[in-house]
Amino acid sequence: MDVAINALPFLWEGLLVTLHVSALVVVIALAIGLVLGLGLTYGPRWIYWPIRLYSDILRGIPVPVLIFAVYYLLPVIGWNIDGFTAAVSALAAFETARVLEVTRGAIQSIHPGQTDAGQAIGLTFSQRMIYVIFPQALRRFLPPWINSVVDTVKGSSLVSFVSIVELTLAIQQVIGRTFEPMPLYILGMAIYFAINFTLSTASRRLEARFAYIRE
């Protein structure tokens, strides 16, 4: 137990890196993923196919491979970015593909009759989106998106592959010094659980907040 308590100051910086990486990835992926998801759902063919291709390729590549590719292949073409930028870019690119599919799924799950009804009462495309489709899609978007956010927090440990000391590597460093793996693994589990339990609780509140929206 003493080992775990003494380790806390060393894990703090790693925890901050984990939170920093996770927040950046979630925000970037949400912003770009929403736009691409809309493009995939309503865009013309010349927009649809590149987005479809992007999504299928990115979701089909294991994230560690993606991180190594960004970190080591870009220098070959003369673009030598640092480890943090490379890792965040790779994770955000992957997460963007997931967000855009969640967005597409949420929108397409709304019955087409809703759109027809909106057209019948003379609503424009933007009005149909803002007043009819988006509010309902939001309710369906939230649960899978929060799921992906939780996965992002856990997946952020992969940034250690490119020399970034995040929570998991910080734990490994203390184990390397103390040779006491069990208390530190338990502490690591507790910290990740605390972060993700907070997120899950927040997501349930959000879902409850939008529960009044019905088709």
């Binding site: 100051p9 060393f10 190594f68 080591y72 220098p75 070959v76 030598n80 480890g83 250690s160 592959f161 490119v162 020399s163 000391v165 590597l169 490994q172 460093q173 203390v174 184990i175 390397g176 010094r177 040779f179 793996p181 069990m182």
Partner: protein
């Protein structure tokens, strides 16, 4: 050549010799940065000197080679070797930036120029030498056996006699089975994914012996005599070297020279102190006289 021409040539030769002599004297007071002019413009030696700090790829989870001390500062034998280079480059052991990397990043980080040099208990092998340029070795590592004071068998002879009853934990790799069986031919092999879990298996009673680096056994058995016992058998010697990009003779030659001076020459302070601290013994003393390097 006419006599006059020869005289002129000799005069020039004399002049050149004079310049060289002055240069030699001046050379003794040249700063390291000025000396950079002597390295080829595309050499890493010149890049490092111009930058004003050395970038070293290393790990942070494996004592006594590279790990964080109680204050969170990187330390270990690999770190000492990096400090030796920083001292040689800038006369300042602190002018070094460490990139904490995984073992599988060692060669890619050199190939893509992410680091100037890798100093991370890297075993020299002919296959690896096709990909990177190795420095002269700075340590001879080996495999060794570590047991628990609570275990049934503590010393090598007892383990060997116990035959197939013995369970040996070892770090996962393609040669792990062979490594264990070269010392304990009948032992059961338990391959695990990290060095820490190899020891954890011993602590938890899942293994009777851990097969790990000889330096690690020395380090752990000395610091935790109530938990670990050195079974007294080290084997399979292997060389540890620093690794650099291939095709840069100036950089490679400089690193070798610097290591030579620190290990066998007149500036042994950092190497000797680190060797004593991390391996608990003094390195062989270098005596003046016939060179045995």
């Amino acid at each position: 050549m006419t006599t006059q021409a020869r005289r002129d040539f000799l005069k020039l030769g004399g002049l050149a010799t004079g310049i060289a002599a002055v240069g030699a004297v001046a050379g003794t007071v040249l700063t390291a940065q000025k000396a950079a002019a002597q390295a080829k413009s595309d050499s890493q030696l010149r890049t490092v000197l111009d930058r004003g700090k050395l970038i070293v790829g290393t790990g942070s989870t494996n004592p006594p080679w590279h790990f964080e001390d109680d204050k969170g500062q990187l330390t270990g034998m690999d770190i000492a070797m990096a400090r030796i280079l920083a001292k040689g480059l800038f006369d300042d052991v602190k002018k070094v930036e460490f990139v904490k990397q995984e073992a599988n990043q060692r060669i890619p980080n050199i190939a893509t120029g992410k680091v100037d040099i890798v100093i991370q208990f890297m075993t020299v092998s002919p296959a690896r030498a096709q990909l990177v340029a190795f420095s002269r070795p700075y340590y001879v590592e080996g495999a060794a056996l570590m047991t628990s004071p609570k275990g049934k068998w503590k010393k090598y002879a007892e383990l060997k006699a116990a035959g197939k009853q013995v369970r040996a934990s070892v770090l996962q790799n393609v040669d792990a089975d062979t490594l264990v069986h070269n010392a304990l031919p009948d032992a059961q092999v338990l391959q695990l994914d990290s060095q820490a879990n190899t020891f954890q298996a011993l602590d938890a009673g899942r293994a009777d012996v851990a097969v790990v680096d000889a330096s690690t056994v020395k380090w752990l058995a000395k610091r935790n005599p109530d938990k670990y016992v050195d079974a007294g058998y080290a084997y399979e010697a292997q060389l540890y070297s620093a690794a650099m990009r291939q095709g840069d003779q100036d950089w490679l030659h400089w690193v070798n020279t610097c290591f030579d001076v620190a290990m066998h020459g007149h500036q042994p302070e950092i190497y000797t102190a680190a060797f004593e601290e991390f391996f608990g013994e003094k390195p062989p003393e270098q005596k003046p006289g016939f060179p045995v390097i």
